[in-house]
Symmetry: C2
C-alpha cells in the first residue's frame, strides 16, 4: 500500500541519530542506523519468542539486564540470524567499535539486525558503516537513521506525540520497520524492530509498565503473514532530558505518558500492517463477548492468519462462510448458533445464520474499502480481542517467491 509521507524533522531532546550506506543492500541505500542518547537512558524491551534467536537478540537480552542503554546500533540487509558463534562475535565487535567511538561502555550499546537469515555479516564492510554512522550523528538525523533500518518497507514508519508531564512538554517518538514475517506472540514477546524514544524522566518499572500496556494493543496485535521472526525487538528508551520529576507507575501523570507511548506504538503497528508485503487492505478484527481472552484471541488470530479469509478480503468478497469456518477451527469455545458477525455496521451473520437480501451488496461495499472492521460477537462471555490484519494478495506471493535480499 502506497502512502505519501511529508518530510518533517523529528527531534527528541538528548538524542542524536546517525546513518550510513556501507553496501549491505544491493540497492546501495542506507543500511546502518544509529541512535545515541547523551546520557545512559532507562531502557525496557521485548524480544521475539522464536526459539531461533538472532545474534543481536541474544546479546540484547543480556544487555537489558543492566537496565540502561545509551546507544542502539542497527543494520539492515542482513539479519545476523542463524549465524552461530561467529555471528555473536561480530555483533559484539561492532558494538565495541561504536562504544569506543562514542566514549561509552560497550554494555550500553544494543545491536539490532534485519534482513536475510543465515548469512554472516561482512565484518569489514559493517565496520566502515559503523564509523560513518558515528561521524554522521546529529539531532536532526531521525529520518536518516530510520531509512537505515528499513528492508522491504515501502515507506518509513514513525509517529510522534507530545505530552505535558510535571509542567514540562515531553516528546515520545517512535520508528519501526517491518512488512513481512509479522505475527503476534504473547507478552513479553514482540514483533519486528521498533525503537520508541522519549526525553521523559521515567523509572524503569514505569517504563516497563508503559511497554506492557501498549504491546498487546499494538505490535502484538499486528498480523501480516503469521510468521514470527527471529529478530523482533521493541525497545523503549527514556533519557530524562526533560528533567520532570521521575514518573513512577503510580504517578498521577503516568496514564498520560503511557497513553502517548501506546498511541505511538499503535500508530507504528498500523503502519506495519498497512505496509504488509503485498497488502492492499487493513482489516481490524474485533472479537467480543468471548468466554476468555484466550478464546477471543484464538478466533481473531485464526481469521487474521487464514489464507481463505485473507484471499476473500483481497478479492472484496464478504464470504461469511470462511470467517465462520476459521472461528470454528480456532479452538475457541462458543456456540455457533449464537454467533453474530458484522462487516463495519452491516450484519452478515445473525444468531448463526447468514443474513440475506440486500445485505450482500452492502457487505461487498464494506470489503471493497482499504480499511474496514470485522466484528464477531460470540455471546459466550465478556472477553474481547483485537487484531490488525492485512489481506493476502497475488503480489504477496510474487514478492516472497522472489525475495533474496
Amino acid at each position: 500500500m502506497k502512502i505519501d509521507v511529508k518530510p518533517m524533522t523529528i527531534r527528541v531532546p538528548g538524542f542524536r541519530f546517525g546513518a550510513a550506506a556501507c553496501g549491505l543492500k544491493e540497492s546501495g541505500k542506507r543500511d546502518i542506523g544509529l541512535i545515541v542518547s547523551d546520557v545512559p537512558a532507562v531502557a525496557v524491551a521485548a524480544f521475539t519468542s522464536n526459539r531461533v534467536q538472532a545474534a543481536p537478540v541474544q546479546i540484547g537480552k543480556e544487555r537489558m539486564r543492566g537496565g540502561r542503554l545509551q546507544a542502539v546500533l542497527v543494520n539492515s540487509g542482513n539479519a545476523n540470524a542463524y549465524t552461530g558463534r561467529d555471528g555473536v562475535r561480530v555483533a559484539r565487535e561492532l558494538c565495541a567499535l561504536a562504544a569506543q567511538r562514542l566514549g561509552i561502555s560497550q554494555r550500553l550499546v544494543l545491536p539490532s539486525s534485519t534482513g536475510r537469515i543465515g548469512v554472516q555479516l561482512p565484518r569489514e564492510t559493517v565496520r566502515k558503516g559503523v564509523l560513518a554512522a558515528c561521524r554522521d550523528l546529529n539531532a536532526d538525523g531521525f529520518q536518516r537513521a530510520l531509512e537505515g533500518i528499513m528492508t522491504t518497507d515501502a515507506f518509513p514508519k514513525f509517529a510522534v506525540e507530545g505530552v505535558v508531564v510535571d509542567g514540562r512538554e515531553i516528546t515520545v517518538a517512535g520508528m519501526a520497520k517491518g512488512a513481512g514475517m509479522i505475527a503476534p506472540r504473547m507478552l513479553p514477546h514482540a514483533t519486528l524492530l521498533s525503537y520508541i524514544l522519549t526525553d521523559a524522566s521515567v523509572t524503569r518499572p514505569a517504563l516497563r509498565k508503559a511497554l506492557d500496556l501498549a504491546l498487546p494493543q499494538s505490535f502484538n496485535a499486528a498480523v501480516v503473514d503469521g510468521d514470527t521472526s527471529t529478530n523482533d525487538t521493541v525497545l523503549l528508551l527514556a533519557n530524562g532530558a526533560a528533567r520532570n520529576r521521575p514518573l513512577t507507575p503510580t504517578a498521577r501523570e503516568f496514564p498520560a505518558f503511557a497513553g502517548a507511548v501506546a498511541r505511538v506504538m499503535r500508530a507504528l503497528a498500523r503502519m506495519v500492517v498497512k505496509d504488509g508485503e503485498g497488502a492492499t487492505k487493513l482489516i481490524d478484527i474485533s472479537v467480543r463477548r468471548a468466554r476468555t481472552v484466550a478464546d477471543a484471541e484464538r478466533v481473531a488470530d485464526a481469521i487474521a492468519r487464514s489464507p481463505l479469509c485473507k484471499t476473500a478480503f483481497y478479492g472484496g468478497d464478504p464470504y461469511a462462510g470462511r470467517i465462520v469456518c476459521a472461528a470454528g477451527y480456532s479452538g475457541a469455545n462458543f456456540d455457533p448458533n449464537r454467533l453474530d458477525v458484522f462487516l463495519d455496521d452491516v450484519q452478515i451473520v445473525r444468531r448463526g445464520l447468514e443474513t440475506v437480501g440486500k445485505v450482500e451488496e452492502r457487505a461487498a461495499k464494506v470489503v471493497a474499502q482499504p480499511e474496514f472492521t470485522l466484528t464477531l460477537d460470540l455471546h459466550a462471555g465478556r472477553a474481547v480481542a483485537h487484531r490488525m490484519a492485512s489481506d493476502l494478495s497475488v503480489d504477496y506471493v510474487r514478492f516472497n517467491s522472489d525475495y533474496r535480499t
Copy 2:
C-alpha cells in the same frame, strides 16, 4: 497440478453407484454421488474437528452410532454448512427420500455435502437429483459417483488395492475429493470427503483400528492452506461380500488388510495435496529425532503452513532461513545449534549453520522439482512426524479471491 487419469472401471463386489446432475453447479456437471451396499455394511468414520459442523456431519455422527450403514448420499456445489435447523431438516428429508427408493431404513443413509458454506440447499432441486441418482445405480458407476462429489478438484482421486484374506481376493477402493480448506487435525478428526469401500468381512473394532492406523499418515498429514473445513468426512464401509472369516483386530491377516487401507488412503491424500488449489509442488516434510511426537508435529505443521516457506518453495528458493525460522516459532523444544536440514539428500543446514558453496545450486535443483522431501533432524529425541504440503502460488490467491461457488 494437472495429472492424466486413464479411464478404468472400478468394481467393489456388493456395491453399486449412482450419480446425477441436478443443477447445484453452474457448470451443469454432476453434483450428486450415491454409494449403496447390497447389505448393511460395517461402518467407521472420522469427522472434522471444526466447532462449526455442517448439517450432514451432525446427522452423520448420530447415524454412526448404529455401527452400520447401507448408503452414502453426497451432493457437491453446496456444503449445507452454517444453515441452521433448516439445513438439518432438508438433509434428513433427502436421506429419507433415498432410503424409501432403496427400500432401506433412513438410519442407514449417511449424508455428505461439499461446496459453498452458508447457503440453504434448494430442496426440490436436490430431490430430483436424488431420484435420478437412485435410478442410475449400477456396479460400474464408481467413476460417475466420484464426479458427483467433486468441487474445485482438477482431477478425480481414487485408489484401489487387492489383498488376499482367508484365501479370498478382496478389494479396497477409495475415492476422495478436496483441494482447498485442507489442514490436519488430530485423531479421530479427519479432513475433506473420502469414502473407502471394501467387500471384506471385518468386525467393527478391526475396521476402526484400520482407520485409526491410516488416518495420521494420510489425510491428517495433508496440508494445503491450513484451513480446517466444516464438512470433512472419511468413511470406511465393509460389506462382507467376499465372505471371508470376519477379520478381527488380532487376526493374522489383519495387517495385510490394514496395510491396503492405509496405502489407499495415503494415495488419496497425496492426490488431494497434489491437486491443492494453485499447487505446483508437493513437499514431503519429515521431522525426525524430536523430543516428542507433538514437537515433531509442531515443526512439520509450522513449515507446512508458513506462507513464507510455501512461497519460497513455489519460487524454487531453497531458503533455509525461513525453514529454520518456522521451526523456531513452532513451539517445539529443540536446540537450534544442533539442527540439521536436508532437501532430498542435500544438506542445507549442519549443526545450526547453513552449509555453503555448491550446496545452494544443488539445493535449488531439488526445490525446482514437482516433488521433493524436506527433512529436519532435531537431535532432541526419537519422535518423528510427516506432512505432505503444497506450495503457495499466485494462482492460489487468484483462485480464492475469486471463488464464489
